[in-house]
């Protein structure tokens, strides 16, 4: 099954799922083997990442309440080359958070932590409970 979301005449998100159960009345959504692509708005903080791809074996959500969960091995990739993996995350309004081990990597960085809080507008990202990583340095 495939789905797409549009806003102001442009596709902002699209995806596929092996099984999708959407109850229009309450805005409740259950998906299995879900893959979603987000297209950041041009000029936004997330635009530098390019296309954002998310995948999870299981996902539930309440669209009107802006709340959701994904679990069973959540994966993230961007066109720029960023990657992320954690077991489960919760979407709650403007935040995505989780308390499982998380691994992030991309051009110039590798990071691992044991908890994640991220603002959905891309303005901040926090890792917690023991963080390790490698950063590219400016020095030659």
């Amino acid at each position: 099954m495939a789905f797409a979301r549009t806003a102001d005449g442009r596709v902002t998100a699209r995806g596929t799922a092996a099984n999708l159960d959407y109850r229009r009345a309450g805005g409740q959504l259950n998906a299995e083997v879900a893959n979603m692509e987000l297209v950041p708005q041009s000029g936004s903080r997330l635009a530098a990442f390019g296309l954002l791809r998310f995948a999870a074996p299981h996902a539930t959500g309440e669209l009107q309440a802006r709340h959701g969960n994904a679990w069973g091995g959540v994966r993230f990739k961007s066109t720029r080359g960023d990657r992320g993996a954690t077991d489960a995350v919760e979407y709650d309004g403007d935040l995505i958070h989780g308390d499982q081990p998380v691994a992030l990597s991309g051009p110039g960085y590798v990071m691992n932590g044991h908890g994640l809080v991220m603002r959905t507008d891309g303005s901040s990202l926090s890792l917690s409970h023991g963080v390790t990583g490698t950063l590219q340095s400016e020095a030659k």
């Binding site: 903080r45 960085y109 926090s126 917690s128 963080v131 590219q136 340095s137 400016e138 020095a139 030659k140």
Partner: protein, 196 residues
């Protein structure tokens, strides 16, 4: 005096090799606002080559976004775009470390309360508190001052209001003789430079 300073720098480690920075901390926060800033808190460890810095907190400032290269001439095959580093093409430019700062490099260690690591300039400025000044140790010898500037590329050290305590003979390279250890010598200076 020159012999003294040369002697003090004799065991200095090699030039810092290029490479990325490894880090660990209890918590990390990355702010992607006007300037990209990375905050590290709690038991912070930074390692680059043989330079190790430990502190309570650290802030990494990312370099200003680089300008895009001019477009390739038409008709030529496009090269694959070079991947941009963390947060849209920015690299670590400066680290500021605070609280119980401890630096290790080769045989040298240094302690202070506040430090600024300038990555392009390959320097580290170490300061202390009014009560406790920053101090550099090299074996038994200590160098204290209001401000210690470490050049990580050359291992030169630049100290303001320096107090150097030497535990070695005056002539570098002289054969050690049996007998009592040399009397420690204290050197005070408004501005002292140790050249490697």
């Amino acid at each position: 005096m020159i012999h003294l300073l040369l002697a003090a720098a004799a065991a200095a480690p090699a030039t810092l090799p290029p490479g990325p920075i490894d880090f660990s901390a209890q918590d990390m926060r990355f702010e992607l606002k006007d300037r990209r800033i990375l905050y590290l808190d709690g038991d912070v460890h930074l390692n680059r080559g043989d330079l190790a810095v430990v502190s309570d907190h650290a802030i990494a400032n990312l370099a200003a976004e680089k300008t895009k290269p001019p477009p390739a001439p038409k008709g030529k095959k496009k090269k694959k775009a070079k991947a941009t580093p963390l947060a849209a093409g920015q690299e670590i430019e400066k680290f500021t470390v605070d609280g119980n700062v401890h630096v290790v490099r080769g045989t040298r260690t240094a302690d202070g309360d506040h430090g600024v690591v300038d990555m392009p300039a390959q320097t580290m400025v170490l300061t202390g508190t009014p009560a406790v000044k920053p101090v550099l140790h090299d074996g038994k010898e200590t160098l204290e001052g209001d401000l210690i500037l470490l050049h990580t590329d050359s291992d030169d050290v630049d100290v303001q209001k320096a107090h150097l305590l030497l535990h070695r003979g005056l002539k570098p390279g002289a054969t050690p003789t049996k007998g009592p250890a040399p009397t420690p010598m204290r050197v005070d200076s408004e501005h002292l430079v140790l050249h490697n």
